[in-house]
Symmetry: C2
Amino acid sequence: MTLSEIGRQAKDVSRILNNLGSREKNMGLEEAARALLEGEDEILNANEEDCEKAAQAGMSQGLLDRLRLTPARVNAMADGLLQVAALEDPVGEVLSMKQRPNGLLIGKKRVPLGVIAMIYEARPNVTADAFGLCFKSGNAVILKGGSDALCSNRAIVKCLREGLERAGLPVDAVQLVEDTSRETAKELMRLNEYVDVLIPRGGAGLIRTVVENSTVPVIETGTGNCHIYVDETADLNMALDIIYNAKTQRIGVCNACESLVVHRSVEKEFLPMLKKRLAEKEVEIRADEEARAIEPDFKAAAEEDWGKEYLDYILSLKTVDSIDEAIAHINRYNTGHSEAIVTSNYFHAQQFLNEVDAAAVYVNASTRFTDGEEFGFGAEIGISTQKLHARGPMGLKELTTTKYIIYGDGQIR
Amino acid sequence: MTLSEIGRQAKDVSRILNNLGSREKNMGLEEAARALLEGEDEILNANEEDCEKAAQAGMSQGLLDRLRLTPARVNAMADGLLQVAALEDPVGEVLSMKQRPNGLLIGKKRVPLGVIAMIYEARPNVTADAFGLCFKSGNAVILKGGSDALCSNRAIVKCLREGLERAGLPVDAVQLVEDTSRETAKELMRLNEYVDVLIPRGGAGLIRTVVENSTVPVIETGTGNCHIYVDETADLNMALDIIYNAKTQRIGVCNACESLVVHRSVEKEFLPMLKKRLAEKEVEIRADEEARAIEPDFKAAAEEDWGKEYLDYILSLKTVDSIDEAIAHINRYNTGHSEAIVTSNYFHAQQFLNEVDAAAVYVNASTRFTDGEEFGFGAEIGISTQKLHARGPMGLKELTTTKYIIYGDGQIR
């Protein structure tokens, strides 16, 4: 099937999904979950095939771990669908409705986006997760996963479609693009006739390629060069705990801390504490000259360190003289993801919240909380780092748009 | 100045605008309005220069009319700024705030987008309008108008900046790109480092170029292939009034009606009435075979007519057998702008509202109402026909984004 045919089918099905009630959608999700569990062996066999090929091709251990499925992971995928079924349906809510002086009654109603395309890497669990969120919010989804996960994705999508069929729902609500070439990816990025929104999920390279090449509206997700600023009035032990958590609890995630900004007046006391605490996880610190004058063991930071998302046990450290300087530094180098201040000063807390330009700005808490589940959305399809449409963790509501519905009795202008 | 420098200045200034209160912003708008009135002669002279050049270059009468400024039009620009000053400031509203089980208090706050770029054609009034809306919503704006209006735009932006200066506000809140080459336009479309959103305003060609070439997130505005469906139960006189209004009240606008869809059962009675009424404005009707069997004077519609935005005294006409067929036809050929049904049937009205995929869907009213002022937003920067971020008329709220502000007391994951 050509991409254009896939697109048209998705668009056609989106008209049907738009009209489904929550009960029908939940039934589809439940049947899809059941089909995943029943198809577990088939999924695991397909995944084994992917993993073998990838290992032979020399895939790194970290990526192989993301690719590999286990009975527990298949169970988690099925559970994920049931959790989404339990979430409130965002579609159909009328956000406002007002009568105009001419008698027109104008309402703003939440409706599905229509057709969502996802381009992602070799993480087969994204396949089921993305389907669940898109389906519950009334959208048809076109999935294009990484070539390394093709067998797994095929098996998973087959199960999802079987589930939909059993529930008497249109199977083309989820379609997999089996051609994993770059040309097809680029074609998908320009399928404006059928695709309403494109969401890339993966590393910085993938995101950049999509932003550069897509004519379909994109929601940019992911990269996070997250800072923690230790203010002159910070509770230093609290700062240590927050930094330790944000840097080391999980290093490969976009809400991990990558850079510290420290007020000069606390460095003498704080840097030795910091060095000791981060040594527990052998975190490398790349600092400016001033910090190195206090802790000569820190490595020297280069200019490029300030903008770097390490996704590793590395942290940059910048000394500042004031909160203004801290905010300016953060606004210059951050990626608009998550930023935190540790402070006891009320005015500094408020200033930081007001002036730092990011999706999520924290006072006295770890940046690791930027996450759909932690925010109470139940699930997320990604974390938007752009300002259009959605900013921060995107749940079901962020997969909808609105339309104006207008009731008249013959009004003309 | 290079575009990159313009971008950086805009970004720097956007940090200041983000912190301004409504009172300061309103003062800036009032001073800018005053400066426009004081600079009227200068603006009119500059505009005269533009108009002469354009006339020599053979610009059409219609475009010349859009380019030309008069004392009344300069007055209207100044008035527009005062009207925007009177609108409620959207910035700073906290849309929700909730405590999580771990004690984190998570709020969602409305904030400016940052830097907005506008690319538009030779309509100098857009210059003042765009500045007013962007400034009130706390955004810096980079304007790139058509080359034919360069002298006018220079004079207008000079006045706006004088007004800001008098109010003690940063003049770079509004900057004009004086290099009107295509290369510079393309560079602006890829200025992701500084520009948060790009809004094109103009004809279908301009919009397409921007969508095709931009890596900056775009809000697509404008093109409207708007339909009116005359249902079998329509009040035919009401239908006539609505069609006459939507087609002929102003032909060059995106919310004008371009296509009729008529239920077969009313055609015998309705088409002769329609022909007579639209003859008053010499509207050409391009119809399918069935309609032409009843009214042979109608011209024959070609396939390409169904998707056409005429912006002229021309209307296509399609016969259908059911509301389902009408909706399918509209969803296939529309541009997602404004669509209307004329009906007395409750269920048909609801079905049309639910199933037609467009920014604004009307029952028994003219499509001409899709407009920021008519919707009660006070002013609009354009009408979005995409589904991301904003759909339909965009007022001040649509020029903002949100950010999560999170209050903690040491929370870690």
